[in-house]
């Protein structure tokens, strides 16, 4: 690490040269005296000073937050030798903004002295941001020489998509064998009463329905319905997106997928994820808190990767797309390849629900209000309606979500025709 002259040296030299020229032109010796303080300051350049030693450290209040939340960054500098001017620049990654304080700080430190600054960063968009780089710049007293050091210690902060609480969820057509929240028509162990039958050897006493036994004159037992869970696969369309930054249809879709994953996992269902786009990646179905983190970590990386190649869902292993799973396809329907993939899944016997994120409203918000734009948006809406009708004709459940409304409202209006009870 070495000193380097700053542009101020050139400025001072210019003014000194100008003063000397004027002194010669006007034949006034005072102008040489004008140059004297400037030359005096530059004399310090002659000194072979060593670069001051100072160390920087950084602390971030949280490493996992949701979109819109803030983290507090604390940066400290400890000077081993005196520093006339130290400017510390803390991390402020892209897609974040300052909520309070400043991420730059300047101080003069004596030997052994330390300084600490705090600022708050609002994480506006999902993603993994690195808060590990602190840049320390130093200057000499006259601002004529400078040095710079970078302290890099990776400190990732994961910003997860916002979650909307959901109560109304599309019910799966089929359940699996593990215990969950869906009442099955099959009888067995459970809480929900199902049927009454005569006592048989092997029945437990606590199963006896005393009221029915007294009325019918012989011992009768209550049979209960089994409670099962379901496999839910969220398939998110990353082929194309529309809308303003941080509010694209993909961002909205990712938030919807995160909310659905949270709600289904809370019902003890197994949830998996498929990112269908330029690249396909997936999370095989699982349950529990850890599974939410797996799904959320994959959703963080969801981004539009443009490709002309149509990806085949046949590449997806069967354990990622289990039979009898309900597939919820979250899509803005901007790329027909995704629609084809969803229809393909339905043809393979999967229970497919299409959650169509409307790109019309988000795009209209970006456009100027004009009759032409309004007409274009109306035509687009009609085209989308026709596309959704195609899905309905193929027997898929379609849920259209206008992002200006809560997702809960869109899901509450889902009607699943031909689904009377969950099959066991």
């Amino acid at each position: 690490m070495t000193w380097r002259p700053t542009p101020l040296v050139m400025t001072l030299l210019t003014v000194v040269a100008w003063a000397v020229c004027l002194a010669v032109l006007t034949a006034r010796a005072e102008l040489l005296f004008v140059a004297l303080p400037l030359v005096g300051a530059m004399v310090t350049l002659n000194r072979r000073a060593t670069v001051p030693e100072c160390s920087a450290s950084l602390d971030v209040s949280a490493d996992r937050v949701f979109e819109g939340q803030t983290v507090t960054v604390t940066m400290s500098v400890h000077a081993t030798s005196a520093v006339s001017l130290v400017v510390v620049r803390g991390p402020l990654p892209a897609d974040t903004d300052l909520a309070s304080g400043r991420h730059r700080a300047a101080a003069a430190l004596r030997r052994g002295e330390a300084a600490t600054w705090r600022y708050e960063v609002r994480c506006a968009a999902r993603g993994a941001h690195d808060f590990g780089t602190v840049i320390v710049q130093g200057r000499d007293r006259w601002g004529l020489r400078a040095w710079e050091r970078r302290h890099v210690a990776p400190r990732p902060v994961h910003v997860y998509p916002r979650i909307a609480p959901l109560r109304s969820l599309p019910r799966p057509a089929h359940t699996q064998t593990s215990i969950g929240d869906y009442v099955s028509p099959a009888l067995g162990e459970g809480i929900e009463p199902g049927d009454i039958r005569e006592f048989a050897p092997g029945d437990r006493i606590r199963q006896v329905n005393w009221r029915a036994s007294l009325r019918l004159g012989s011992l009768h037992v209550t049979q209960r319905r089994r409670e099962r869970n379901a496999d839910v696969v969220l398939m998110i369309d990353t082929l194309a997106a529309a809308g303003p930054r941080h509010e694209t249809t993909l961002d909205l879709g990712v938030r919807a997928a995160a909310s659905l994953a949270t709600a289904y996992l809370a019902r003890k269902d197994r949830v998996g994820l498929i990112n269908y786009g330029g690249t396909i990646d997936w999370v095989k179905p699982g349950s529990g808190r850890l599974q939410y983190e797996r799904v959320a970590d994959t959703l963080l990386k969801a981004t539009v990767v443009f490709t002309y190649v149509t990806k085949d869902l046949g590449f997806v292993p069967p354990r990622v797309l289990p039979s009898h799973a309900i597939v919820i396809a979250v899509t803005p329907l901007l790329d027909p390849r995704f629609a084809k993939a969803a229809l393909d899944l339905a043809a393979r016997g999967f229970d497919v629900v299409v959650l169509a994120v409307s790109p019309v409203a988000v795009t209209r918000a970006m456009l100027k209000t004009s009759p032409l734009n309004a007409l274009a948006c109306r035509l687009w809406t009609l085209e989308r309606r026709a596309a959704l009708d195609t899905f309905r004709r193929h027997g898929l459940t379609v849920c259209e979500w206008n992002p200006s409304e809560p997702l809960e409202r869109a899901l509450a209006g889902v009607e699943r025709r031909g689904l009377r009870a969950v099959a066991g």
């Binding site: 002194a23 102008l31 303080p37 300051a41 400043r102 700080a105 601002g143």
Partner: protein, 169 residues
């Protein structure tokens, strides 16, 4: 903010000093141009308006000295030079600490530094002026231009050496 205020103060001193030396209306106009450039520099913290302001104010001061044609005054010129140095340095400091939380220790240390340097330079100039007054009578008139040229060469060589050393360090 404090650095911008300091720069504005230094610019004002550099504007007023030529007016105290001589008072023709043309000087006010040149000075105002310099002040305007300094104001642009203070607001935007760009480097070029500060340099241009220093040069214009210097022209203003040179014109004032040329118009007055009185005996040389080393103290006034030194104060003017210090004001120019302060203007340029405070602008650079303002630029460096732009959008930063500035610790009070930094401002204090900088102000103390300027005061110390100003006092040192003033004392040096007084000593130099006294010594020059004594030596001036002994130097023959024909030798004076050669001495001045040698001095200028010496200054150039010193600055070049300083820059080279600084680059090597």
């Amino acid at each position: 903010m404090i650095m911008r205020l300091a720069a504005a103060g230094f610019a004002l001193v550099a504007f007023l000093l030529p007016l105290l030396t001589a008072r023709p209306r043309a000087l006010v106009l040149t000075g105002l141009v310099g002040l305007l450039l300094a104001a642009i520099g203070v607001v935007t913290l760009w480097r070029w308006p500060a340099t241009a302001a220093a040069c214009v104010l210097l022209v203003d001061y040179a014109a004032a000295l040329w118009l007055v044609a009185g005996p040389p005054s080393a103290v006034g010129a030194t104060i003017f030079g210090l004001a120019l140095l302060g203007l340029l340095q405070s602008m650079e400091l303002g630029r460096t600490t732009r959008r930063a939380t500035v610790d009070a220790t930094l401002v204090r240390s900088q102000l103390l530094g300027w005061a110390g340097f100003g006092a040192g330079i003033a004392a040096g100039v007084m000593l130099l002026a006294t010594a020059a007054r004594g030596v001036a009578s002994t130097i023959p008139l024909t030798v004076a231009p050669f001495l001045a040229a040698a001095g200028a060469l010496g200054v150039l060589a010193t600055v070049a050496t300083m820059l080279r050393r600084s680059h090597e360090a």
